[in-house]
Subunit: 489 residues, 2 copies
Amino acid sequence: MALTPRSQDYSQWYLDVAKAADLFEYSPTPGCITFLPKSVAIWDRIRSTMQMKLELLGVQNLYLPMLIPMSFFEREKEHVEGFAPELAVVTVGGGKVLEDPLAIRPTSELLFCDFFKNRLQSYRDLPLLYNQWVSVLRWEKRTRPFLRTAEFHWQEGHTLHETREDAQNFALSIHYNVYIETIREFMAIDGIAGKKSSSEKFAGADTTYTFEPMMSNGWALQICTSHLLGQGFMEGFGVNFQNRDGGISHPYYTSWGLSTRSIGGIISSHSDDKGLIIPPRISEYMAMILPVYGKDNKEVVNAYARSLAEEMVGGTTEVPVQGEYFRAIIGPRGKVLLDLRDARLGEKINDFELSGYPVRIECGERDLQSGKCVVASRISGEKVVIERSELTATVDHMHTQGQGMLFEASSKRLRENTVACETLEDVGRAIEDGKFALYEWDGDPQMEIDIKERFKATTRCIPFEGQFTDDLLKLKNPENVRVVIARSF
Amino acid sequence: MALTPRSQDYSQWYLDVAKAADLFEYSPTPGCITFLPKSVAIWDRIRSTMQMKLELLGVQNLYLPMLIPMSFFEREKEHVEGFAPELAVVTVGGGKVLEDPLAIRPTSELLFCDFFKNRLQSYRDLPLLYNQWVSVLRWEKRTRPFLRTAEFHWQEGHTLHETREDAQNFALSIHYNVYIETIREFMAIDGIAGKKSSSEKFAGADTTYTFEPMMSNGWALQICTSHLLGQGFMEGFGVNFQNRDGGISHPYYTSWGLSTRSIGGIISSHSDDKGLIIPPRISEYMAMILPVYGKDNKEVVNAYARSLAEEMVGGTTEVPVQGEYFRAIIGPRGKVLLDLRDARLGEKINDFELSGYPVRIECGERDLQSGKCVVASRISGEKVVIERSELTATVDHMHTQGQGMLFEASSKRLRENTVACETLEDVGRAIEDGKFALYEWDGDPQMEIDIKERFKATTRCIPFEGQFTDDLLKLKNPENVRVVIARSF
């Protein structure tokens, strides 16, 4: 399958890369995709990384129902206005028309608020720190696999705190120590951290923190947000507790989510015209081994390929992967994929490049005679002939180096393409050029309406300090703020 | 909280145990519960155990959408008759009435069939082995936490095979090597393996394999089933492949699921009048430590308690658990829970017994002076004073012994309370006595209607060979079969 070049048609390139790498399949359910094993494997790695971080913060997993009584949506005015147009509504259950229809969760604040009522008596019960790994549904007309689909998978955290300061600190600790760390160190994607403007924040939130990476076309992609919801929801649901003075207070509420949009971010950030590139730290397979057969030597070459794989993973378990030709070798150090097809090396390399796995190993009769093999990095393109005793160290090195190179490239792109703009005309030109525009703003929401109409762009965030050199952030009027303006998925 | 004694009111006892152990909360969503962190932790352990087994069989995880077009239900006649009465139907999406309404999946055969069409060309693509960890929804009027709720969590596996024999072997390998092994060795529950009668099998299946454990009231609980679906669904959806002879064939289809009903099975099988008992191998915490305070010694006693915990888990990470008083100590060997409340030892022991964790450790000033502590098993009731150097070995021993004792008790109950019955009157008496009845049956479905009306009982399975002594299975007429009849949740 030939991929559309990225420079020719970005959207089509993105779809071609994701399709050729077998990440998704279109679905007959409107607005939805099937997440194929490869994208689920990436999500599982993101999930286990984050799960460990959440556990160390004392966050506990639970499962609330997927359906929310529609009557609940009336209790928080901004929230219902934000989500009502996107709801999928169950009106028939068990063959009968329901008196109180049920919405499939677009997010679960309303059910959590009801749930919190029963979990909270005294300040001694605080903080309450909960999370769930589920899918949510927001009705979408224009969809794009992973980046925008009606149903997507995410984790949603919901916590209650005694004071606003506690709540804010916790939301920021999720934002920095869980989200930004996972995105930068595992997904190898850099971005700008900041808070959303009033019109862009979550429906019902006081403050929304966001991290906005730049994709390879210069658009922003919102992967995660953390919300300081304050006391509004608590009032709507009558959630309160006995405070330290014996009085009754509302707790402060935070919620935060990171979704499978991040898989779209990985595809869009790192891939090239040859296909997908998966950052080594979240790749299911450490490497693919491509045995090259001569005349009548398939068995010995395969045995050699297997022995290389077993050495790398430290185990000998062999498992078939989707049919007859691919095998996974599994051990305590990881998994390696064997391509046992009777194909030319060029074809195998081509499919390896589409697959996105970080390292390939080629071996044929000559290699097995000399005890060598060829190792090549999907990321740096480096290709070396090594003794088999050097295999593990070489692959480890290519992983570390590749992971670093991907992050550096993402970071460099962001730095080089974020520019200060004096006027809205400058902003428009920057956006046409695929850049993030830093614009001095007095906070008037009319500007946001203008840039949407004129440039199809939105304010992405008001950046936190320390991310840019002073000249990029210098304000003429200290009452104003710098805001990032960009197109986004 | 005082629990209703099991002998007094089984249903209320079950609810009291689950509630006191903080396993669930009632929900405003009809028929649904909130799965609290403790039940999710049990489910996560079951999940990771099964996940490892599935991976070694070459099964890959994916995610299909949660919504199924209603028009799909027309394509398999038996299937629609089986599930139509239980559907929750989305008729409104994004504010508009849908032309083709969407059902929340009660199970995903229909979407998998549509999906398979695009994944299969040749016999070389077979087998296709997929699984998803999701929740499903089946509208229920009478619910019972975990045992029967509208929404529940499960895994559902869906596989295609070249021949009926391959499909049957795979379904049996899931049944024995994944399900029965997990249920017996991890959940510590014994049961009867067999196949369902025609009227009790899955809607659309040729054969349904089941494992039917006996709960502590003598009722059966169906935790998992594996279905040989044959070619019926394949015909309805036009799924076929090029066979080895160059012709076109339908593949053979299996599906199989194990659900969070198993948590209900664990509660019901093992718990006693003091509260929940969690089998050690699926317990989140290895042990609870209950420090006992004297006058002004809280800090030193807590430091000693912490050092015991750190020794057990091999690590020093401390994390708050739900509020101020409980702490988890986490390390590479596991997790220990500290109860730092300023309460009497009796109260702490009481709450430990409700909690269901397998081992408790008591320590006070005298213990810290002498370098000792008290260790007691929730399962055997054994209580010993030991040197702290013996701590890890003692806890390990109590785990192994406790896990064994739970399984032995479950197994013994099943053996002693499964009886051969000559007449339906005998069957009725056996069932009234809380037993499984083994009845010689000519296969006439009228018997199943009779026992439902007369005894509120159903045929649970036609047992596989080798599970009972010959005299229990001996048939007067070799054309007949032995069938297990019982009440069930």
